[in-house]
Symmetry: C3
Subunit: 341 residues, 3 copies
Amino acid sequence: MEFKAGELAALTGGKLQGDADTIITGLHAFDMAGAGELTFAGGPKYLARLDRCRAACVFVPVGFDKPAPMTTIAVADPKIAFFSVLIKTHQPYKPEPGVHPSAVVAPTAQLGRDVHVGANAVIEDDAVIGDATQIGAGACVGRSTRIGARSVIHPNVTLYYDIQIGDDVIIHSGTVIGADGFGYVEHEGRQIKIPQTGTVVIHNGVEIGSNVSIDRATFGATVINEGAKIDNLCQVAHNVQVGKHAILAGQAGVAGSVQIGDYAVLAAQAGVRDNITIGERAIVGAKTGVSNHVRPGEMVFGIPAREIGEAKKQLAALSRLAAHVKPLLQLARKAKNEEAP
Amino acid sequence: MEFKAGELAALTGGKLQGDADTIITGLHAFDMAGAGELTFAGGPKYLARLDRCRAACVFVPVGFDKPAPMTTIAVADPKIAFFSVLIKTHQPYKPEPGVHPSAVVAPTAQLGRDVHVGANAVIEDDAVIGDATQIGAGACVGRSTRIGARSVIHPNVTLYYDIQIGDDVIIHSGTVIGADGFGYVEHEGRQIKIPQTGTVVIHNGVEIGSNVSIDRATFGATVINEGAKIDNLCQVAHNVQVGKHAILAGQAGVAGSVQIGDYAVLAAQAGVRDNITIGERAIVGAKTGVSNHVRPGEMVFGIPAREIGEAKKQLAALSRLAAHVKPLLQLARKAKNEEAP
Amino acid sequence: MEFKAGELAALTGGKLQGDADTIITGLHAFDMAGAGELTFAGGPKYLARLDRCRAACVFVPVGFDKPAPMTTIAVADPKIAFFSVLIKTHQPYKPEPGVHPSAVVAPTAQLGRDVHVGANAVIEDDAVIGDATQIGAGACVGRSTRIGARSVIHPNVTLYYDIQIGDDVIIHSGTVIGADGFGYVEHEGRQIKIPQTGTVVIHNGVEIGSNVSIDRATFGATVINEGAKIDNLCQVAHNVQVGKHAILAGQAGVAGSVQIGDYAVLAAQAGVRDNITIGERAIVGAKTGVSNHVRPGEMVFGIPAREIGEAKKQLAALSRLAAHVKPLLQLARKAKNEEAP
């Protein structure tokens, strides 16, 4: 890639200050960017350090008009502008279409146009793979599982049988979709396995990180709705419904039959007990354990989860009370003694 | 499947109310069941909503005798009755016996009768696979590892060398059994690896979810006893002993040399530090961090874990004290000042 | 193996008490060791039980001179002495060099001397594998990824493209290195994926457990420095830097751009939020959630993390205050009422 700063200003509708002919050959983070590189100042903290930045060109927010040692482009949202350039200029690697001779594709499987099937991948009976979809090396696609178009199944992913996956879905390595949900009834001293007769449905535009587990439903389907993003090592139990564009950060876990609203966010290592509803655009803090429904837009924190303001209040109270625990206990004992006789 | 309600009543020893000729063609959850479907009312909450249920037939508890809009069958335990029907009518898929031509089976490996070995699976030297056991596509069975009869090793499972696995064991995809335990000694500024010379023994009837890690012992064996159930993404460290029919829910983690009693339950995301004993039928709450032994039958919660009653008392106390933190601190300061002179 | 106790004393520079001709044929843990076996007494707790130990020979600390029912060898550090014998006598299994005929190795890949490539492994274009390195069955090495000498990549590991791995590195099964970092910008109601253009660099002597996820950087590299040890099911997000000889215990998680100092320890299930610095030799307690920088050598605990002394003080205070919550609340209400008029 090679751009001139003036072209980037035109592309992003920004206002250029400095040399429009500045040559841009790469993009990098603010503190790492060097000669020929573009970056962005994501807030006051970065703007204050602009004179120490070594980038050739920086996206700054509209209204910032101090002198800068490099070319700047003022835009409404520097972060969005920067990443839109990154997205435009980034060419993701596409393997050649075709089935590697070492791959095992069942004769009854249907492959669309321009499908790539990597070395030692396995596609079982009656599976259907949409146009331009990639199946990575060593990945297994179970019988009757259907994948849409332009999806990327990375190496060593395992898709069980009868799963449905949409278009433009990305699933990273080590992830397992459609294993049996964790259901037993204790009977005469044994855990009897409850058959998991349902499936998993993953809608368009979902991305799932590495080593994620998404279980099939007991009945019906575990559903990941359009555009949701699930980070590495997350656990999604049977019958869960994840809303559109919702986010599950690393190692979050969701127990059976939970409903997560559109645009809701579970921060890292959060957990939600079974049969809970998390409202639209709600935020569950990191390491939080949710045991009651969370209202739309609400932010909760703690174990068990409380509204964030209440959680902070309790944490602050404990810190302050702990500093005065001795006189408090003396008062309490005295009051009790006075009351007793 | 197709049953008449009268047949189900006979099968479960229940008392039918309504039309014994009601045709049942499927099973479903209470809120999802529709025409031709069987479900169960698992408690008062469901019984109260019985008139809104669209199922053709419902298992209800003995003693429930109100009129219902569908055929009912009264049984001692509706949930058990329902799932016993599900288990009876569910036909799990069995792949054809035989070794796929793309699988790599060492000449010294021994395969029992009716073993299935999937595409691109690998079975190393001196491994022993019992009758009717299935090895999924892409799974690896290390040298000298022994698996009993009727077990199901799903695709892309990894079993290291010298592991012992019993009969009727199910291991889901992505799970790794027998990797080295995490043991080092710091010596002259480096972490020196302690050889993990032991093994893993998994007894009959155990089910292990997807992406689970169970490490081999330093000496002796990490042991998962009969009928225990381990959910997705659990961590079982070296030398751990998991009791019979014990349950580890999703993302639970158990450090080295922990002993978990029979029928004990670790709820989701719980953790247990090394060398701890969890008593028989003890329950460790979700997200709990256990750092002391837990007595048989005891239920604990919190970080660090406390007896559940004490944990709840502390949570309630904090919530109430936080609401009065100002006057409490004033009293404490006043008492301190009075004392000081 | 077969040793005489006298040889072990000479080997470790220890002082033998008892029979120098005692034959040692194996090593085991203190409580498990039996006839012909060597063990060590790691502290007063074990020394006090020495007369119940059935080992043939025990390493004890210098200065311990009580009579023992077996041969003893007094050394400065019994644990180090014991494990040094274990390391000396343990012969890790080495598969034969060579490429299994079922493996798929791209013609442009470069393999060093004595490389082992297991059955159904896949090595993509331009990958470079150093001398005596082992690639396990079913493992995938992405294009242009480089691995040094004497490293062990266990079965079913996935290495994405352009990753750099040093010498003497061990990576256990199910682990995924170099998947895309979890980066999106919300724009017009959708999460837009930020291309992850960086890489992962893993330095010499690192060991990584099973089912670990280490993501590639957005720009630059996620770096695991020399000798660091990462346990099973850990999450290492994009742009993280893990210090030399640092330790991440089971299921620990580290968010984007975190810097972990040399020799720092994250205990099991700990989590660190993005952009945090953990100082050299700092210790993050089990299940702790770090949201502020941690100073070198500091130990922190709790959610959110506090200095360990403060955390313990708060826990103790809560326990004591909860026992007196009634009189405390009465006092608070009374004080409030007195103030009010």
